[in-house]
Each structure stands twice: as structure tokens, then as C-alpha cells.
């Protein structure tokens, strides 16, 4: 909000205008002012510099799945088991995040088809508490995997997270082995598990289910890594190399199979699924 809008909104007799704030979107990468409508129609990819903006779970699901998919219900988990409080209560933070998001937590899965090939797609939403992995995310990941096992179809997971949810302490760390139990079951059942790494995917999420796919696809420019850049810089006390921990860098170092533009993502997944037909269970 600029000062003019703020001043205007403060005047009781004028009423709030909601258009000026979101008519334009500034590209966070090249600072170009873009018509929000154009930007969103371009799948939140900057037409000038190809920056891939972050998008929520619903838009992502609609982008990847054919029409008529079924969103799986969010599993119930214990809430705030540690009674965690930093400068704010965790329950307060959850309440705020839920008020600003259509979903109850950061992982939403749906079952449907990708160009007529059956698949379950799970999406992690950075917009919900930084996509952080707590019990709800871990459980929703597992539920998506179970659905894929039941339907004997592919499991595609789109990752985005700063890491584990600190407010759930050790219980968030335990989601790493928990999710890994399910990736192993998919493998044993002969079902493909494909990971789409989006900006940003770091910490415990990268160090578990994000790096265990049969195929790893990354969106251009996505930040992907284990340790945070500031932590690394404090450790080595040197400049980080250009493009460090970006999708293209991981591709060069053999950690992802391909870097795919968002416009090509669904087509690429469909092409992959043609080769990764569910095998007979081992």
C-alpha cells in the first residue's frame, strides 16, 4: 500500500477502494510493473524476465490436473501439541494463516487425471506459514500417497517450504521418516513418484520426500537446498557462487532431472506418465 492509498483509506467518508492495490503487480525479480490480470493469466510467470512467482494450492491443482478432480479432505491431527509460544502463540499464527488461506494447512492433495492419466497430486503451499512441514503436512502427504496406492496410480508432489515447522518441535522432524515410509511403499508397489520442486524448497522437506522421487522436476530459478544461505555464509565466510542453490545449479550438479517452465509442466508430467506405467507390485 502506498501512502496515498493509506491516507485515502483512513478517511472514513470515502470508503475503501480495493482496486488500486492489486491492479498492478511488481515483478519481485526484475521490478517490472505488470498488469496483475496479465501476470496471472501467464500463470504468475513474469513475461519480461521469466521469474516464476509462487502460487497457491488451488491454482496449482487446476494447472496440473484435468477438470473434475477431487480434492482430498485434510486429515485431522493433534493441534499445537507443545503449547508452543514464541513472541506469539502458535495457535494464533495458525488462526491467522487459516484466515488468509482457503485450506487448513500447507499441504493439499487431490485425485484426478493428468491428460487422462490417473494421478494423485499433492501441493505444498508456501503461502501457508511458509509451507512448513508439521504434523498436518506430513499426514496429508501420507494420505495422498495412500490414495495413490489405493488407485494404483502415480503420485506427483509439488514441494515448497522453508523447512520443518519449528512450532511443532521434534514432531515436525518426525515427519521426515514418516513421509519416507510412504515413498518406500509407492516404490514397492511399483508406482511412480514424481517431485516438482518449486521456489523455495529447503531444509527438512528437501532432506526427505523432495529428494526421493523417481523423477525430479524443478521450476526455473527455484531456490532448492538443505542449509539456508545465511547459515552457509556464516560457516564458510566467503561469497556464495552465482546461482547457488537455484534450480539450474541443482540440474548441473545432478540433483534434478530437468528444469521445466510452468507452461510446459503439465505436458511434461503427462509425457513422463506415459513411460512410468504402474508396474506389477513387487
Amino acid at each position: 500500500m502506498n501512502w496515498l492509498t493509506r491516507a485515502r483509506n483512513a478517511l472514513p467518508f470515502l470508503g475503501k477502494r480495493d482496486t488500486p492495490d492489486n491492479l498492478w503487480t511488481k515483478c519481485p525479480a526484475c521490478q517490472e510493473m505488470l498488469f496483475t490480470k496479465d501476470y496471472e493469466e501467464n500463470l504468475s510467470v513474469c513475461p519480461k524476465c521469466d521469474y516464476h512467482g509462487r502460487i497457491g494450492a488451488d491454482r496449482r491443482l487446476a494447472l496440473l490436473l484435468d477438470e473434475g478432480y477431487e480434492v482430498l479432505s485434510q486429515p485431522d491431527v493433534r493441534e499445537d501439541p507443545l503449547k508452543f509460544r514464541d513472541t506469539k502463540k502458535y495457535t494464533e499464527r495458525l488462526k491467522q494463516a487459516r484466515a488468509a488461506n482457503p485450506h487448513r494447512d500447507a499441504f493439499t492433495a487431490a485425485a484426478g487425471t493428468i491428460d487422462n492419466r490417473p494421478a494423485v497430486v499433492g501441493v505444498q503451499d508456501f503461502g501457508f506459514m511458509g509451507g512448513s512441514m508439521g504434523m498436518a503436512v506430513g499426514e496429508a502427504f501420507c494420505k495422498g500417497a495412500e490414495e495413490a496406492l489405493k488407485r494404483r496410480c502415480a503420485y506427483v508432489v509439488v514441494t515448497a517450504a522453508g523447512g520443518a515447522r519449528m512450532q511443532e518441535g521434534i514432531l515436525s522432524l518426525m515427519q521426515m521418516p514418516k513421509a519416507t515410509v510412504m515413498t518406500r511403499r509407492l516404490k514397492e508397489a511399483g508406482l511412480p513418484y514424481i517431485v516438482v520442486l518449486t521456489d523455495p524448497t529447503t531444509g527438512g522437506v528437501t532432506a526427505s520426500y523432495a529428494m526421493l522421487g523417481d523423477i525430479h522436476i524443478a521450476e526455473p530459478g527455484a531456490l532448492i537446498g538443505f542449509a539456508g544461505q545465511r547459515v552457509i555464509q556464516d560457516t564458510i565466510r566467503e561469497q556464495l557462487p552465482d546461482g547457488f542453490q537455484r534450480a539450474e545449479y541443482l540440474h548441473r550438479h545432478g540433483m534434478v532431472d530437468m528444469v521445466v517452465d510452468r507452461h510446459e509442466l503439465k505436458g511434461t508430467l503427462a509425457d513422463l506418465l506415459e513411460y512410468l506405467e504402474p508396474a506389477e507390485a513387487a
Binding site: 507443545l82 514464541d86 519449528m166 518441535g169 538443505f226 539456508g228
Partner: protein, 314 residues
């Protein structure tokens, strides 16, 4: 000579007085044995009360104590015939994570764990117990080997976290940790893990996706260091004590959360005051846990481990 932590100051003062008395007793020929005994008793009692009510942050300091026994000490006092094995066959050998064959009460096992080192030279060599991808890939190799030859796996976890560095990232630190966790879960043999010092995040869980997870009494296990948590959520690392409290990092907290299966009591005043006793208690507990898997099939062992993690944290 003990290295004292801040909260041990009263104990340190008493122990200094006892030492003074002892040396003056030798020169003065005055009988002070009664006074000495009284002070020693007082000092022991003080140590016991201090250590029975440590805050989570104090426990973190004990877990990081420079004299705390590490992998090599437990190997020396608790295991026999350790045969270290080296290398990941892909890049190199990482001495932050050690592993090899060993005997535990006569039972042949694969022993793997973090080693932090005990002086400047060895700390550098072991990279302060911060594993790199090649360390985790060595662990994977050894676990798979153990699985093929029916050797149970024992891991001793003691790391502030996996190494955060440019090369570690380039060689796939995240992938190595994920695969190591997967390797634990895939084992057809039992794997028992003990957090003996610091259980730091992904670098710890990579060796602890196990059938049984235990902690030494004063060990800590957490998703991020208290300092890291504080600097993100409180915006200052100085709130580490609050963060340690809020995150629930101690063995008793984790036992009541159902994340670990048992706590191994430490000698009074912490494992560093009596490493031999600490190692004895540790290994006899591991033996007991391993014995529970005797006669169980691979399928049962894998299933128990999977259920352990699927049912946890729901």
C-alpha cells in the same frame, strides 16, 4: 581437571575448596578429614540436586560439553573388536560419521555414529561431528551391508547438524540425508539408535529412523538448534533458552511425546564425569533392546519400524 559450565559454579567453588584443603592438609599436618568429608558430601549432594533439575537450555550445554564422551569413547568402553570401515565408494571418506563392525556383549553388530572429536586437531578431522553427503552415503553403504549379512545396526547420534557448506550442497546433502533415512527404514535387521549428545535435526534423524530410539538422560534432540529457532522466531539468538524450553528438547519431554522409547540414566553430574559407567549403562540397554528382536522375521522388523513412524506425530 573438570571444565565447569556456568550453572555448575557453586559446585566448582566447593570442589576448589576441597582441593585447597587437601593441599594445605599435606603441609600443615592438621587433621581435617572430618571437614573434608563434610565438604565432599556437600559437593556431591549439590551436584546431584543441580543435575536433577536442569533446564532444557542447561541440558543443551551438558549435551555439548567439551568433555562429553563421544563415539570413540563409547567404542572404547562399551564395544569390543571395533573394525572401522571407510568410504562411500563415490567421493571420499567423511570422519564426522564413523562406522564398522563391532561386538556388543558378544553379539556381532554394525556400529555407526557421529564423532565430534575431543581436541582441536581431532575436532577438525571429524569436522565437529557435522556429516557431509559422503558421510551419510557411507552410512547407507554400511547399513545395506549389515542388512545383507544379518547384522543388527546400532547408531550413536551426536551432531549439531549436517554440515552447511557449498560443497556439501553441491554433492547433494539433502539427497544423502533423505536416502540415509530411507536406508534405516529399509533394513531387514533391527536398528537401535541412541541420541548420546546432540540430536541436531535432519543430520540426526538420517541415522535414527529406527526400531527403537533411546536418549541418554542429558542428551537433547530437536528440529533446529535453540539458537537457530530463537533467531528466526524471536529474531535474536539470545532467546535460545526460551526456544529450548518451548521446543521440548529433553529426554523426558521426548519420552512423554512418544518420540523416543526410553531414557538411559547418566552418572551423577553427567556422562563426562564417568564415561565408563555411562558406556556400561548405554551398551547394556542396547543389548536388552536388541534381544527383543531375536527370532523376529525381517517382515515383522520392517513393519514395526514403519508403524512406529506412521503412528507417531499424528
Amino acid at each position: 581437571m573438570n571444565a565447569y559450565l556456568d550453572f555448575e559454579k557453586p559446585v566448582a567453588q566447593l570442589e576448589a575448596r576441597i582441593a585447597d584443603l587437601r593441599s594445605s592438609a599435606q603441609s600443615d599436618q592438621v587433621d581435617i578429614s572430618a571437614e573434608l568429608a563434610r565438604l565432599e558430601q556437600k559437593s556431591a549432594a549439590l551436584l546431584e540436586t543441580t543435575y536433577s533439575s536442569l533446564t532444557p537450555w542447561q541440558k543443551t550445554q551438558v549435551a555439548r560439553h567439551p568433555k562429553r564422551p563421544h563415539f570413540r569413547d563409547y567404542v572404547q568402553y562399551g564395544f569390543a573388536d571395533f573394525m572401522p570401515l571407510g568410504g562411500d565408494r563415490l567421493y571420499g571418506d567423511d570422519e564426522a560419521i564413523m562406522g564398522g563392525f563391532a561386538k556388543l556383549d558378544g553379539r556381532r553388530v554394525m556400529l555407526i555414529g557421529h564423532e565430534k572429536g575431543h581436541d582441536t586437531e581431532s575436532r577438525l578431522r571429524h569436522n565437529f561431528g557435522m556429516g557431509k553427503p559422503e558421510g551419510y552415503r557411507k552410512a547407507i553403504r554400511l547399513m545395506e551391508l549389515a542388512g545383507r549379512f544379518g547384522l543388527p545396526v546400532v547408531t550413536l547420534v551426536d551432531t549439531s547438524g549436517a554440515f552447511p557448506g557449498v560443497e556439501a550442497e553441491e554433492r547433494g546433502q539433502a539427497e544423502a540425508i533423505a536416502r540415509s533415512t530411507e536406508a534405516c527404514l529399509a533394513l531387514p535387521v533391527p536398528i537401535i539408535s541412541v541420541i548420546v549428545g546432540e540430536g541436531g535435526s535432519g543430520g540426526a534423524v538420517a541415522l535414527a529412523a529406527s526400531n527403537r530410539v533411546l536418549m541418554l538422560e542429558h542428551a537433547v534432540y530437536s528440529v533446529i538448534s535453540p539458537e537457530g529457532c530463537a533467531s528466526i522466531l524471536w529474531r535474536t539468538a539470545e532467546k535460545a533458552s526460551e526456544a529450548a524450553q518451548a521446543m521440548k528438547v529433553t529426554s523426558s519431554d521426548l519420552l512423554s511425546l512418544g518420540v523416543i522409547d526410553g531414557v538411559v540414566p547418566e552418572p551423577v553430574g553427567g556422562a563426562h564425569r564417568d564415561p565408563e559407567t555411562a558406556a556400561d549403562r548405554l551398551t547394556s540397554r542396547i543389548s536388552e533392546e536388541l534381544a527383543q528382536f531375536d527370532g523376529r522375521t525381517s517382515k515383522e522388523i520392517v513393519a514395526q519400524r514403519e508403524e512406529r513412524f506412521l503412528n507417531m506425530a499424528r
